[in-house]
C-alpha cells in the first residue's frame, strides 16, 4: 500500500502484495504516512474547524469585550455541544450508525470514482454530474419495468453504471483528443447535468403525476434496495447500498492491482509518455478511465435514487461529488482507504445533520472541516511542521499543467 498514491513511479516494482496484506497492512504498511498523517490531519482540521465555529457565534464574540472569562467558557460550551452532537449523531446508537452507513455508501462510490481518476493522473471533479446522469438511468429502469426483485435491482445497478460511464467518457475523450483539461470540462458537465435533470423532471415521462415541481415518479418496490435492519425498527434506513459499495471497492481493488487494464491505468497516470512509448493506447485509456470513474459515480447516483430516496429530485447528488475529492485524497486513492474515509465522512454527514438539528451550528461546517483535511493531507509538510513527525510522505501530485 506504499506506492498507491498518485505519485507512484513507473520504476517501482509492480504491487504484488496479497489481498490480506493490503487489507491488514501487515508488514508492509507505512504507518506514518498512511495512518498517522491522516489521523493528525483529521485532528488538525477539527481544531481549525472549531475556530471557525467560534467565529460564527456572534453573541459570544460580543462577550469577549466585556467578560472574557465567561466568553471563554461559553465558547467551549458551544464547541462541546457541537462536536458532542456530531459524535453522537454519527455513532451514538443504532439509528446514528444506520444513518452513517446510509450516507457512507454513495460517498464511498463517488470517492472511488475520484480515486480511479487520480490513479490514472486524471482529476475527476465531475462525480456530481455523473451521479445525476447515472441516477436518472437507474430511475427509468426503476419505474418503467416491472420485474422480479432479483433481476430488477441488478438491472438498475447496470443502468446507473452505464449512465455515469457515458457522461464520464465525454471529458476523457476531450482530454485525450483535444487536451481540454478535465477539471474545467467536468465542472461544466456538472452544471449541464444539473440543468438537464431539472428539465427532465418536468417532462411528463419522468414527472410524478399531479405535481408541478421537479419530482420524479417513484421507483417500484422491486427495484428498491432492501433495508437491512428493518426488522428491528422500520425507521432504520440503512440499505443494501453499503454492501454494494464495499463489494464495488473490492472490485476496484482487483481492477487496479490485479488486472492488466488496471496496470495500464496506473502506468498512464504515473507517466503518460512512458505508457505511450510502451505501446499502450493512451487515448483509449483516458476514455476508459473516465468511463469507469463515471460509472462508479453513476452507481453513487443509483444508490441515491433506488436506495435512499426512491425517486429523483432536483440536484439529488447534493455535494457528494465534492466531498468525494477530499475522501479520495484522505484515502490515498486506494480503494480500501476510500472505504475507510467514506465511513468517516458518512459519520461526519450523519453527525452534521444531528448537530444542525440539536445545536445552532450549521451542517456546512462539515464541508469546511473536509476542505481543511485535504489541506493537511495534501501538504504533509504542514503536519510534519506542526507535530514534528518524521515521515517521508511527499505531496500528492496529480497534474503537470494544462495540456498533455
Amino acid at each position: 500500500m506504499s506506492d498507491v498514491t498518485p505519485t507512484s513511479k513507473p520504476d517501482q516494482p509492480e504491487d504484488r502484495s496479497s489481498f490480506v496484506a493490503d487489507v491488514t497492512g501487515v508488514g508492509r504498511i507505512d504507518w506514518r504516512s498512511n495512518i498517522l498523517i491522516p489521523a493528525l490531519a483529521i485532528l488538525s482540521a477539527l481544531v481549525v474547524g472549531a475556530i471557525f465555529i467560534a467565529l460564527g457565534d456572534l453573541d459570544t464574540l460580543r462577550l469577549w469585550g466585556s467578560d472574557p472569562g465567561r466568553a471563554l467558557s461559553e465558547t467551549f460550551g458551544t464547541l462541546g455541544d457541537a462536536y458532542g452532537a456530531l459524535f453522537r449523531g454519527a455513532l451514538g446508537g443504532i439509528n446514528p450508525i444506520s444513518e452513517t452507513l446510509t450516507r457512507a455508501a454513495p460517498l464511498i462510490l463517488a470517492g472511488l470514482a475520484v480515486a480511479v481518476g487520480f490513479q490514472a493522473g486524471l482529476f475527476n471533479i465531475g462525480a456530481n454530474g455523473q451521479m445525476l446522469i447515472g441516477g436518472m438511468f437507474a430511475l427509468v429502469v426503476g419505474f418503467q419495468f416491472d420485474l422480479p426483485l432479483l433481476i430488477h435491482i441488478p438491472l438498475a445497478i447496470v443502468a446507473a453504471f452505464i449512465g455515469g460511464a457515458l457522461w464520464g467518457a465525454i471529458p476523457g475523450y476531450l482530454r485525450a483528443k483535444t487536451g481540454a483539461h478535465e477539471v474545467i470540462t467536468t465542472i461544466m458537465l456538472n452544471f449541464i447535468a444539473l440543468r438537464l435533470v431539472d428539465y427532465l423532471l418536468t417532462v411528463k415521462f419522468f414527472q410524478l403525476e399531479g405535481r408541478n415541481d421537479p419530482v420524479s415518479k417513484s421507483v417500484l418496490d422491486s427495484a428498491r434496495y432492501p433495508k437491512l435492519i428493518e426488522f428491528i425498527n422500520p425507521r432504520y434506513r440503512v440499505h443494501l447500498g453499503i454492501i454494494i459499495a464495499i463489494l464495488v471497492a473490492v472490485g476496484v481493488w482487483w481492477l487496479l492491482y490485479r488486472s492488466t487494464i488496471g496496470f495500464e491505468f496506473r502506468a498512464v497516470g504515473a507517466n503518460p509518455d512512458g505508457a505511450r512509448y510502451a505501446g499502450m493506447n493512451v487515448v483509449f485509456l483516458y476514455v476508459a478511465v473516465m468511463a469507469v470513474a463515471g460509472g462508479l459515480a453513476g452507481l453513487a447516483g443509483g444508490d441515491q435514487v433506488v436506495g435512499t430516496l426512491g425517486r429523483a429530485t432536483s440536484g439529488f447528488s447534493g455535494v457528494i461529488g465534492f466531498d468525494a475529492i477530499a475522501l479520495a485524497l484522505l484515502g490515498r486513492s486506494h480503494p480500501f482507504g476510500v472505504v475507510a474515509a467514506g465511513l468517516l465522512f458518512g459519520g461526519l454527514a450523519a453527525g452534521g445533520q444531528a448537530m444542525q438539528a440539536t445545536t445552532n451550528v450549521g451542517i456546512d461546517i462539515v464541508q469546511v472541516i473536509q476542505a481543511l483535511i485535504i489541506v493537511f493531507i495534501a501538504a504533509p509538510a504542514l503536519i510534519k511542521a506542526i507535530f514534528r513527525v518524521r515521515a517521508e510522505a511527499e505531496s500528492a501530485q496529480v497534474s503537470q499543467g494544462w495540456a498533455t
Partner: protein, 422 residues
C-alpha cells in the same frame, strides 16, 4: 513570451499536421453552424424581429431596426460557409480565435432574430447585460493569467470570487460600498496567499490547492450564511452600485449606453485590462513576471527572486479576483446567496485560455461568454420554444467547446512545475 509570439506569428501556409487537423475540425464546425442557421433560423422565421436601439431618454434618437429573420439567417449562413472554406484552405493564423468569436456572435444575432420573430427586442438591454455579465468573468480571467504568467495555475478563482461576493455583501451592509470593495479584494488576496503558501512553499499540487480553496470557501460562506445572514437580514442588504454615464461618450447611439452608461465595476474592468496589458508587456515588473513563468531557473540565475515574484503575482491575482467577486453582490443584486458564482470562475479560466493568456484576449472572450449568459436571461422573457433549462446550459456548453477546440492550439506561457531553488 518567446514561444507564444512564435506561435502567433507563424505564417498560415506552413501549418503543422496537428494544426491542419484542428483547422479542418474548426472548418467543419463553421459549416455545421452554417447549415444549422440556414435550416433552423432561415426556414424557421416568417416575420421580422424589431431591434430597439434607443431608449426613451437618450439625447440622440435612432429609429428601431426591423430585421427579417430569414434574410439575416441566409446572410449569416453564407458568411459562416465562407469562413469555413477559408479556414479549411488557409486558416486564419493568429486571428483564428477572433474570427471564431465573430462567427459565434453572428450565430447569436441570427438566433436572436429568430427568437424575437414578430416581436420587438431591446438590443441595448441585451448588450448592456452582456457587458455586465462579462465583468466577473474578465476579473477571473485576468486573475488567472496574472498567476499563470508567473507559473502558478489558479483553479481557486471560483472560490476567490465567491469569497469576494460574500465579503462584499457583509461589509457593504455594515460599512458601505467603498469599504466593501476594499475588503472583498483583501479577502481574495488572503485566499491567494494561502494558494501561494501551499504551492510555492509546501509544493502542493497546484490543481489540488485550487480545488481546496474552492471547497473551503464554498463551505465557509454557506456556513456563515446559514449561521448569521439568515437570522440577520440587515447584514445581507448591501447597497448596489448605480450606473452613471460618462459625459459625451454616453450620448453616442448604441455604443454609449452599452459601454459608457454602466456602474463602477464595468469601468474598473476597462482599467484593469488596460493596466495589466501595459504592465505585463511594457514594464520591468512584467518582464520579470514572464521570465519567472517561462524559465524560473534562468530568471533565478540573473538575480530575480523567483519565490518573491510568484508570491507577489499570485496575491495581486487574488486581489483582482476578490474585487471582481464583489460585483456579484454590490455590483449586481445586493445580497449574497449560497454558491452564487455558479462556475463563473471556471468560465473565467476558459476565457483566459481562449484569450491566449493576454488581457485583451481575455476580455474579448469574456464578452462572448457574457453575451451567451445575457442571451439566456433575456430569452427567458421572450416566448421561445426552447426550455429555459437548455438556455441556462449555454455558457457552460460554450466553455466546453472553447476549451476543447482551442486549448491544444493555445500554448500555456509558463512552466508550472514547482520551482526548487538550488
Amino acid at each position: 513570451m518567446g514561444n507564444v509570439t512564435a506561435v502567433m506569428t507563424r505564417p498560415t501556409d506552413s501549418r503543422s499536421p496537428a494544426e491542419l487537423r484542428r483547422s479542418r475540425v474548426l472548418a467543419i464546425v463553421y459549416l455545421v453552424l452554417a447549415l444549422l442557421v440556414l435550416w433552423a433560423f432561415g426556414f424557421g422565421s416568417e416575420g421580422s424581429a424589431t431591434f430597439v436601439i434607443s431608449r426613451p431618454g437618450d439625447a440622440i434618437r435612432v429609429g428601431d431596426i426591423s430585421v427579417p429573420g430569414a434574410g439575416l439567417a441566409f446572410v449569416v449562413a453564407a458568411v459562416l460557409a465562407f469562413l469555413g472554406a477559408r479556414q479549411w484552405m488557409a486558416g486564419f493564423g493568429s486571428k483564428t480565435n477572433l474570427v471564431l468569436a465573430i462567427g459565434l456572435g453572428l450565430v447569436a444575432l441570427s438566433f436572436l432574430a429568430w427568437a424575437a420573430d414578430g416581436a420587438s427586442f431591446s438590443l441595448v438591454g441585451l448588450l448592456q447585460e452582456a457587458i455586465k455579465r462579462a465583468v466577473p468573468i474578465t476579473f477571473g480571467a485576468v486573475s488567472g493569467l496574472l498567476c499563470e504568467r508567473t507559473g502558478i495555475i489558479n483553479i481557486g478563482i471560483e472560490g476567490m470570487l465567491l469569497g469576494g461576493a460574500f465579503t462584499g455583501a457583509i461589509v457593504g451592509s455594515t460599512l458601505g460600498a467603498t469599504a466593501a470593495m476594499i475588503a472583498a479584494a483583501l479577502v481574495g488576496g488572503l485566499l491567494a496567499l494561502l494558494l501561494a503558501v501551499l504551492t510555492v512553499k509546501y509544493r502542493v499540487d497546484q490543481i489540488i490547492a485550487g480545488v481546496v480553496i474552492n471547497i473551503f470557501v464554498l463551505g465557509l460562506t454557506s456556513f456563515y450564511t446559514s449561521q448569521f445572514l439568515v437570522a440577520n437580514p440587515a447584514l445581507n442588504n448591501a447597497p448596489i452600485m448605480r450606473a452613471f454615464g460618462i459625459p459625451l461618450l454616453a450620448d453616442i447611439p448604441l455604443i454609449g449606453p452599452v459601454l459608457f452608461d454602466q456602474n463602477i465595476f464595468v469601468y474598473a474592468m476597462y482599467l484593469l485590462v488596460a493596466i495589466t496589458t501595459f504592465t505585463l508587456f511594457r514594464t520591468r515588473w512584467g518582464l520579470r513576471t514572464r521570465a519567472v513563468g517561462e524559465k524560473p531557473r534562468a530568471a533565478d540565475t540573473v538575480g530575480i527572486n523567483v519565490y518573491r515574484t510568484k508570491y507577489r503575482n499570485v496575491i495581486i491575482g487574488g486581489l483582482v479576483a476578490g474585487f471582481g467577486g464583489a460585483y456579484f453582490t454590490i455590483g449586481s443584486v445586493g445580497r449574497f446567496d449560497e454558491n452564487m458564482t455558479a462556475g463563473r470562475g471556471f468560465i473565467g479560466l476558459a476565457a483566459m485560455i481562449f484569450g491566449r493568456w493576454h488581457p485583451v484576449g481575455a476580455v474579448s472572450a469574456a464578452l462572448v461568454f457574457g453575451l451567451a449568459d445575457s442571451l439566456q436571461v433575456k430569452l427567458g422573457i421572450l416566448d421561445t420554444p426552447i426550455p429555459s433549462e437548455f438556455l441556462a446550459m449555454a455558457p457552460y456548453l460554450v466553455t466546453i467547446v472553447v476549451v476543447a477546440g482551442l486549448v491544444g492550439r493555445s500554448r500555456p506561457p509558463s512552466d508550472y512545475t514547482a520551482y526548487v531553488k538550488e
